[in-house]
Amino acid sequence: MLAVNNLDVVYEDVILVLKNVTLEVPAGAIVALLGANGAGKTTLLRAVTGLLDVHRGAVTRGSVTLDGQPLHHLDAPRTVAAGIGQVMEGRRIFTDLTVDENLRIGGHAADRATVAAGLDRAYSLFPVLADRRQQPAGYLSGGEQQMLAIGRALMSQPAYLLLDEPSLGLAPRLVQHIKELIVEINRQGTAILLVEQNASMALSIASHGYVLETGKVVMDGAAAELLANDDIREFYLGLSEERDLSFRDVKHYRRRKRWLS
């Protein structure tokens, strides 16, 4: 199990961005992490993957553990070796490298056999990439780049895969496709922490969800429960129940808006 325990994260020694965050990703599960812009979702992933120091951030309290072993003291390469893979926000593929090279770099620390198996797996999960192995990755479409970023993260055969807003900027049809791929990757045995603003997509495949707001977990529960929750429906799904918008409701809305967004 990947566990975040009472975690505080500070940037530049002064900006407290995560406050007492606790979150669990059981082995083999899909867990959704929801939250508005600036809530601290990416920061949480950085704390797990050893990338905080690149951004002058640090864990000041609490811990991140993988099967009980502390993770938050490790640098990024060691977290990869420990079995954590990640797809960073904005895909961040190497546009000047070929598709094949992008995948291979994902297997940098792995042995030959793992790399070969990883390439096979990536090209069978994403047949569009197989046709374009030798092309610069910068020529791929947004959706293809996202698939490449996912394929790259899988090259090290991680037990846990962290995805930071994989649906961002993709057309609905592609979002659907990415969603199916995530389910398939999970079925093949990889646990997934899915950071999303697209709450309906994330909650439809997750077993459990957390809502992060200005650095705090303000809500968590079974995905089905969250999907049914009025606040979530209203602020993440845009599905407010059709009720009269009286003055009181607007005030109510404002109040909750402050609380959630």
Binding site: V80, R104, H108, S156
Partner: protein, 299 residues
């Protein structure tokens, strides 16, 4: 015609190849770490010294001595990176460049101590012998410079293009954070860049030490030519470093050959200025160099 080929083109390509070696070293460090390395002249002259000691002093076969000297300088380069440059990671590139000036000073003092005031030889097998090339008699040392440099640069190019570590180095030069996230030990890539660069500088030092009967400490200044070369080629382009090195070498040799004859009024030693003239012209026309990337930052 014979003169044009042997004393102009071949000699120019010979000296230009050594500039290319030095410039490729600059580019590799710049791409991997974003640092402009001003310490290259000291690394170069230490390389010439190490070759000299190993070949003439210790009596190793010349090729073995050269490879050993490259290995020694690679170690010096990696140690320099670890001790002096690693603490600068994340600071302004300008500050790191200044640190390399400090490294230059320290290493140059060391080199001066070791070399002393005498002129030394690297023990090369070429001497003043000449060879026939398409019916023209050319100096063997010029051919050696061209062949050795191009083989070395080709090997580095192959390493970068084909090997696992080469791929990791390229990835690091594109996006350090993402490289880290793939499990690449970015610090090790910095170290490797300095090692390769210093080894190439050592090779250039050996080649420069073969000409004009030997080298002394002050010969290190030749390596400063690599600065106009990288600016002409583009700070981040290995291809640019090679072409610009050869271009400047040939321009220098042709000036040395013909200027005293046809433009004597320009004065003596004009060839020394030529690299900088070319650099200024290129800076005006293409500020990012002939092969460089447009948004490369300047130090």
């Amino acid at each position: 015609m014979t003169e044009l080929i042997s004393s102009g083109l071949v000699r120019g390509l010979g000296i230009g190849s050594t500039y290319a070696l030095l410039a490729v070293g600059f580019v590799i460090i710049y791409r991997a770490t974003g640092v402009i390395n001003f310490a290259q002249p000291a690394l170069m002259i230490l390389g010439a010294y190490a070759t000299s000691v190993l070949a003439t002093g210790a009596g190793l076969p010349f090729p073995v001595a050269v490879l050993a000297a490259m290995a020694v300088l690679a170690a010096v380069g990696m140690a320099t990176e670890r001790v002096a440059l690693r603490p600068m990671v994340g600071r302004q590139p300008f500050a790191a460049a200044m640190v390399t000036v400090g490294v230059l000073t320290v290493l140059f003092v060391v080199a001066h101590r070791l070399i002393g005031t005498q002129v030394r030889t690297v023990g090369d097998p070429w001497g003043l012998q000449r060879a026939e090339l398409f019916g023209v008699s050319v100096a063997q040392v010029d051919l050696a410079k061209i062949v050795v440099s191009m083989v070395a640069i080709g090997a580095v190019g192959l390493f970068l293009a084909r090997s696992r570590l080469g791929l990791a180095m390229r990835a690091t030069s594109m996006d350090q954070e993402v490289a880290l996230a793939q499990g690449v030990d970015v610090g090790r890539m910095f170290s490797l860049a300095w090692g390769i660069s210093a080894a190439l500088a050592a090779l250039a030092g050996m080649l420069i030490g073969t000409s004009a009967g030997g080298f002394e400490a002050i010969t290190a200044l030749v390596a400063l030519k690599a600065l106009p070369v990288v600016i002409v080629g583009g700070l981040d382009s290995i291809k640019g470093a090679v072409y610009a090195g050869l271009l400047i070498g040939v321009a220098e040799a042709l000036t040395r050959l013909y200027q005293p004859r046809y433009a004597e009024w320009l004065g003596a030693n004009v060839d020394v200025v030529v690299p900088y003239v070319i650099m200024i012209v290129v800076l005006v026309v293409r500020p990012y160099g002939l092969f460089g990337t447009r948004e490369v930052e300047r130090v």
